[in-house]
């Protein structure tokens, strides 16, 4: 009963229970009194366990708020987003400037080490590594978020059509989705990205969005089908609600839960996959816009002399991906009715 989100009526019963037990202890206990107390306690105990009128989202939030895993994930995600937004203003150097160019010696010292003003040193072209890491968060965030959004939109459209219409439309859409799922997803992304004549960050976005479409479509179609068979949709239909209104007001909002969880997890996968594409040289070749995957790929030849060139961007990718994964996993656990016990 220590939940602040509970109704005021619950709070009042709480107090009265406390008062009564104190009274019972203080007063001389009679046989009838004790029995009455016990029945009253049982009655209040029943209402307490039921937690009347708490929605799934509210009870999920209640559990999330105290879940350290969710809080860590959310903190990482928030810090990353804030950093990505303000990075161009706090980065000490311009990402295209080459202040340490004269220190680069291809034979003896290909990657200048740390020195005052450049506390992570520079990359193989004499650019300040720390500034590029900071600004790199931008591209990574944009690619991850935009790709997931596009994938979500595509999947939502296909899944809603399939789940709402049913019949042969459903079969057709699902066969297309099955074929898309029959190619290992990262391979599909490589294939799509290799189509681009002039690769840019949008190549990454589109390639990663496409591999997410079938996943979201399948997920949404499944929960839409479950909604179609549910009692509240039957009730709406029998009341004569228009079919479009049933789909968009009654079915879709109720079917979105698992999709939102998947989207959080997809953000992590999108960031890792984008890094893989950049690593293979299928991403944005424009180095004036640093991106962690690209930096990691370019660090490969310097494995013996300067492994830190790979460690920093990889560390950033791992922390951010972990943040999204932790958030997604704890969201899934909180929304899963099985774990509510």
């Amino acid at each position: 009963m220590n939940d602040t989100t509970n109704h005021t009526t619950d709070d009042s019963t709480d107090h009265s229970t406390d008062d009564r037990t104190e009274d019972a202890r203080g007063a001389r206990p009679t046989f009838g009194q004790r029995r009455k107390d016990r029945i009253d306690q049982l009655a209040t105990a029943g209402t307490v366990d039921d937690e009347p009128g708490v929605s799934l989202i509210r009870s999920a939030w209640k559990r999330l708020r105290r879940n350290p895993i969710f809080l860590i994930g959310a903190a990482i995600t928030l810090a990353f987003i804030v950093l990505a937004i303000i990075s161009p203003w706090i980065a000490p150097w311009d990402v295209t400037a080459r202040p340490l160019l004269d220190k680069v010696r291809p034979q003896s010292n290909p990657v200048p080490g740390p020195e005052p003003g450049h506390f992570l040193g520079a990359d193989d072209r004499g650019r300040d590594l720390f500034s590029r890491l900071l600004v790199g968060s931008r591209q990574t965030l944009i690619v991850g978020v935009v790709a997931t959004l596009f994938g979500l939109l595509g999947g939502l459209t296909l899944g809603t059509i399939a789940g709402a219409v049913g019949g042969w439309v459903d079969s057709l859409v699902m066969r297309i989705v099955d074929v898309m799922l029959s190619i290992p997803s990262l391979l599909l992304a490589f294939t799509v990205a290799s189509l681009a004549r002039n690769p840019s960050q949008w190549t990454l976005v589109i390639a990663i969005a496409i591999i997410q479409v079938p996943i979201f479509a399948r997920l949404l179609r499944g929960s839409m089908l479950a909604q179609r068979a549910s009692d509240h949709v039957l009730a709406a239909r029998s009341l004569g609600v228009r079919p479009t209104a049933i789909v968009f007001r009654h079915m879709l909002p109720n079917a979105l839960g698992p999709v939102i969880v998947q989207a959080t997890l997809s953000l992590a996968v999108a960031i890792i996959d984008a890094a893989a594409l950049s690593f293979l040289g299928l991403g944005n070749p424009d180095q004036s816009q640093p991106e962690w995957g690209q930096m990691l790929g370019r660090a490969q030849p310097f494995i013996t002399e300067a492994p830190h060139l790979a460690f920093y961007p990889a560390g950033c990718i791992i922390v951010v991906a972990l943040g999204f994964t932790l958030m997604g996993e704890s969201l899934r656990e909180a929304l899963d009715p099985k774990t509510r016990r």
């Binding site: 066969r175 029959s182 990262l186 391979l187 992590a268 490969q300 494995i303 990889a314 791992i318 991906a321």
Partner: protein, 336 residues
Amino acid sequence: MIRFVVRRLLQMCVVVIVLSMLVFLWLRSLPGGPVSAILGERQTPERVAALEKALGLDQPLPVQYLKFVERAVHGNFGVSTKVLPGEDAFQVFLDRLPATIELSVLAMLLAIALGIPLGYLAARRRGSITDTGAVIFSLVGVAVPVFFTAFLLKYFFAVEWNLLPVSGRQSTGLDATRVTGMFVLDGILTREWDASWDALKHLILPSLALATIPFAVIFRITRASVLDVLDEDYVRTAEAKGLTTRVIRARHVLRNAMLPVVTTIGLQIGGLLAGAVLTETVFSYRGVGDALATAFREKDYPVLQVLILAAAVIYVLVNLLVDIAYAVIDPRIRTR
């Protein structure tokens, strides 16, 4: 059971046919079309016209597609332009396949051999240090890009500590006899133990890198599935009947908990193919993945066609096998 297999085979055929159409159209939709992809910078209008005629590209699309299928069935996809210039594209695939089979089989064995027992242990000791540690490890394992795991392993074990070879499949200068193309197996078959041992040493790091993600996923699914089964009524019934713990664990818990794990293993094989592209690139391991990476980077379309089609067919086939295995383990599936 036979009806089930036949139905799944038919479904598979549909997927493969649609896939072949997609790969065919994919090549047609390349910037500038297939001709400019082949000619590259040497292209002139006359050359384009001549080559289009020679390749039958002036004919209608359905006719072109049928010809494409006819050639594909005979393994004729054209000649590699960049990966192994002049070599037949299908031959490139056949040459590279054993290396990748060797690598993926070892990686998958590692993932299964570590993932299932650990997942089972973690579920039985839920909330213990072992459990929490393993869960954290598997969460981090999924967040680390495969190529960075490969990079880390390479940096520490090969470069820094000099324990294992940095790259390749076998040391140069070893005069090993080739039988199957899988070097470890070849060495065993021909009793050239030093060659086999050398090939195995080259395999350890790439297969460890490749195994991380399947391991993490198999571990988590096993743990969740065992936890679910432990809660089931039939487990309580078995306990109440007075069966020994060993019998309950082996017959009731483990067998039922393995169902989702089998599906997951099948699904992971697709990811393994993509992971092989990245791992093989880091270790310069000459397999299908390395060929794919080069073909993507250098735009070697004949090779890409073969490899993508082959990867998809292998993936579909493996999933068919998984479905059959599933039906064998769980009789309820067959009737559906």
